[in-house]
């Protein structure tokens, strides 16, 4: 049995498409078997709602009169990168406000823009013959500016590590507050619902794949930064740690704050929760084998975040079912676990995407080019020119 994207889109058009979310497919495949499932189900929706630091938005403000070539741009006192043309800028999610520090950052600017709130824009310039203005202070909203699109260099990590703290003091990390003496464990993946864990070898997700991006229809634009497909795999295809990533793009003006939320990890910084949904076409029986993956089949490794090194000591592997139960054991000690990624929101997104496909509002795409199946994962070493 094979099924093409064109056949699926024809079914979407005729209102006959059968869509399940990545949780529902588990029981379905269990009851009906691989063959029947592949025959009956056209699409499986996957999703995640997690902090994704490597995110940001390109904005074009339009030209003032007299015009200005902006060299330094502040949005609600948060610096944006303006080293591109005259009135283009990139606002990064983790950039901090110059006046409010950890309480407000690029992520909040993006959320406020999406929510339609006014943003104070200040920019300065040296002034040129063609761009004489040296200063501007004004207010913008998403409706008064030209293009505004999210372009996130690294989202939707295929899997993520779990964190604990062996030291005798509380530490504040991007994995949340970690209590001393193995006081808790945090982890961050939608597990069985997660997009790249349901298509571990990127058979259907590639460059050009249409996705749900924070409420809008966006696209996979490239493989994400730190994409590491070579990470060792379990027999079911899933990596037990950091592996593939996606770079994604989408129209900020069509997004909803329901599916994108600025946040602050105390003692660490500002970042942004982003909701991503990816429809996976059931192209053949092999695809069902991947899609029926359950939390208990997916593993991650627990690392000690109190060790301030690139390579942190590991406390072994654990599966997502154990993590999601709320308690695991490390060295015989029972430890409470907590997720950073919201499974509730991921489930919600998988269902919203399912409904959009069923209602004929979301069509699937063939990818234009596949994600790299091999890519070297480099580290940054401190070298002299001669040692390079």
């Amino acid at each position: 049995m094979t099924r093409t994207i064109e056949e699926i889109n024809e079914k979407i058009k005729n209102g006959k498409v059968v869509v399940l979310n990545a949780e529902e497919i588990i029981d379905y495949a269990e009851k009906k078997g691989i063959k029947r499932t592949a025959k009956e189900v056209d699409v499986v929706t996957t999703a995640t709602f997690s902090p994704m630091c490597s995110s940001g938005a390109f904005l074009n403000f339009g030209h003032s009169d007299p015009p200005i070539k902006m060299t330094r741009v502040l949005l609600n006192d948060v610096p944006a990168y303006a080293g591109i043309a005259a009135v283009d800028a990139y606002i990064g999610a983790t950039e901090l406000s110059e006046t409010e520090g950890l309480n407000y950052g690029g992520a909040h600017v993006i959320e406020d823009l999406i929510s339609g709130k006014p943003i104070k824009l200040r920019a300065t310039s040296a002034g040129t013959d063609c761009y004489p203005r040296r200063e501007i202070e004004t207010y913008i909203t998403k409706d008064t500016i030209n293009q505004a699109y999210l372009f996130n260099p690294r989202n939707a990590y295929q899997n993520y590590t779990a964190a604990t703290n062996s030291s005798n003091r509380t530490i504040h990390t991007y994995m949340g507050k970690l209590l001393p003496n193995f006081g808790n464990v945090t982890y961050c993946s939608a597990g069985q619902l997660s997009p790249l864990l349901n298509d571990p070898y990127y058979r259907t997700i590639g460059i050009g794949t249409r996705i749900f991006l924070a409420g809008s229809q966006g696209y996979v634009s490239w493989h994400g930064t730190q994409h590491n497909p070579g990470k060792e795999r379990l027999p079911n295809g899933t990596p037990a740690g950091l592996a593939g990533t996606l770079a994604v793009i989408g129209n900020l003006k069509e997004m909803s704050p329901e599916y994108l939320r600025a946040c602050t990890f105390r003692g660490y910084g500002v970042t942004i929760f982003i909701g991503i949904g990816v429809p996976i076409p059931v192209i053949d029986e092999e695809m069902v084998e991947f899609l029926k993956i359950r939390d208990e089949d997916i593993y991650t490794e627990i690392f000690d975040y109190s060790v301030q090194r690139r390579n942190r000591p590991s406390y072994g592997k654990v599966n997502y079912r154990e993590l999601r139960s709320g308690k695991i054991k490390i060295k015989g000690k029972s430890i409470q676990t907590g997720s950073i990624s919201s499974y509730f929101k991921a489930l919600e997104i998988s269902n919203v995407l399912k409904q959009e496909i069923k209602k004929g509002k979301f069509y699937l795409t063939n990818y234009v080019a596949p994600l790299p199946a091999e890519e070297k994962y480099n580290t940054l070493d401190i070298l002299s020119r001669e040692e390079l």
């Binding site: 709602f49 005798n168 949340g176 507050k177 939320r261 105390r266 409470q336 907590g338 499974y343």
Partner: protein, 135 residues
């Protein structure tokens, strides 16, 4: 006769039993331990209710503070903002009494007030500032 709810925090080196004994014997107070926990950094937390003469309760609080126990009024509440909460679950790993848990079928955050000992450990862990203490 008055009634007061207090949160007591005992540093690692203080033994709780002689203290509680003294409260009953010397200050003639009715003493009720509502909840007690040891936090991961080995601090003992206790939510107690004292009943007795107002002046005696004040004396008892002074005695407790003098021995190194920190005493806080428990006339407050932990409040979770439903609008802000995104049901991630970070706080559930922090809350030692499991007053905060994720519902096992809906995966939504559940707050069981009766289990809360007002230790305030969860306050600064929420990435969207959905947890507040109401005084």
């Amino acid at each position: 006769m008055v009634r007061r709810k207090l949160v007591l925090s005992f540093p690692e080196n203080i033994v709780t039993s002689p203290i509680t004994y003294k409260l009953v014997k010397e200050f003639n107070l009715e003493f009720n331990i509502l909840r007690a926990e040891i936090t991961p950094d080995m601090e003992g937390k206790m939510l107690i209710e004292l009943r007795g003469d107002k002046a005696l309760i004040d004396d008892a609080i002074k005695y407790l503070t003098d021995t190194g126990v920190s005493v806080q009024e428990a006339a407050k509440d932990i409040i979770i903002s439903k609008n802000k909460c995104i049901d991630c679950g970070i706080c559930t790993s922090i809350c030692i009494t499991q007053a905060l848990t994720l519902d096992s079928s809906s995966f939504k955050l559940k707050f069981n007030k009766d289990k809360c000992i007002l230790c305030e450990l969860c306050l600064d862990c929420c990435p969207v500032s959905a947890i507040k203490v109401h005084i």
